[in-house]
């Protein structure tokens, strides 16, 4: 990870813990983002809810294209906690466009509790979900984490 040939670039990576939260996905993915920053790459950590909120807000002032361009330029984008969110079709479309722009060009890290077959419930459009996942998974590394929760009561 000390050189531009870092193996994750420009591949997407999905960090998944099957059911339970708090396995440390965010910390581990943030660690990769941190290393990317230290090695001269530009990156952004954004929670999925904030990402989709910004996408929806951009519709009001017709700034979606500008928003996609801004996020598509980042060397490493970490989208945290993609889960069951109530998305509108417009948000799904913008998310698809963003992933299409970044695919095979820039690194994207996604942390989620969802299995791939559950993504259609999140995005609400089966055909679009299949198209999105085929792009995402083309050169993707999926890392499944299992183990004890990091937030279990101590002592």
């Amino acid at each position: 990870m000390n050189s531009p040939s870092w193996s994750l670039f420009p591949r997407p990576s999905i960090w998944s813990s099957s059911v339970q939260p708090e396995f440390g996905k965010t910390g581990l993915a943030s660690g990769l983002l941190l290393k990317a920053l230290q090695n001269g790459y530009r990156g952004l950590f954004i929670r999925a809810q904030d990402l989709f909120d910004e996408m929806y807000a951009s519709l009001a002032d017709r700034a979606s294209r500008k928003l996609i361009r801004r996020w598509a330029r980042l060397d490493c984008l970490l989208i945290d906690e993609v889960g069951y969110l109530n998305l509108r079709p417009e948000q799904t479309n913008i998310f698809f466009k963003l992933m299409e722009e970044r695919c095979r060009r820039k690194a994207t890290l996604i942390t989620t509790n969802l299995e791939y077959d559950q993504w259609a419930r999140l995005l609400g459009n089966k055909d679009l979900t299949e198209a999105l996942l085929s792009r995402l998974r083309h050169q993707c590394q999926t890392i499944r984490i299992n183990g004890p929760s990091l937030r279990e009561p101590q002592g």
Partner: protein
């Protein structure tokens, strides 16, 4: 002369050199390094400072969820909290 140098350094945005040049010139008066050594020393300090400021800027714009020290890798922090593997 010093004022002119300070102004030129400010115009060229060489902030670190502007900060240290007085001390460096005073030290050079006693140790007598070569011109190239002194110039390399000043430029190296400026380059390192610019790298540090760029890194800080990237950190600021990345909006990481926690404020980590530059030396701390959260990967290590996260794995430290995991129980040891079963023997």
């Amino acid at each position: 002369m010093t004022e002119e140098i300070q102004q030129l350094l400010k115009n060229l945005r060489l902030h670190k050199i502007a900060e240290i040049i007085e001390g460096e010139l005073a030290a050079a008066g006693t140790t007598s390094p070569s011109y190239s050594d002194l110039l390399a020393r000043l430029l190296r300090a400026e380059w390192l400072d610019q790298q540090e400021r760029r890194l800080q800027s990237r950190f600021k714009h990345a909006h990481l969820p926690e404020q980590w020290d530059f030396g701390v890798v959260p990967l290590q922090a996260a794995t430290r909290r995991l129980p040891p593997p079963d023997p």
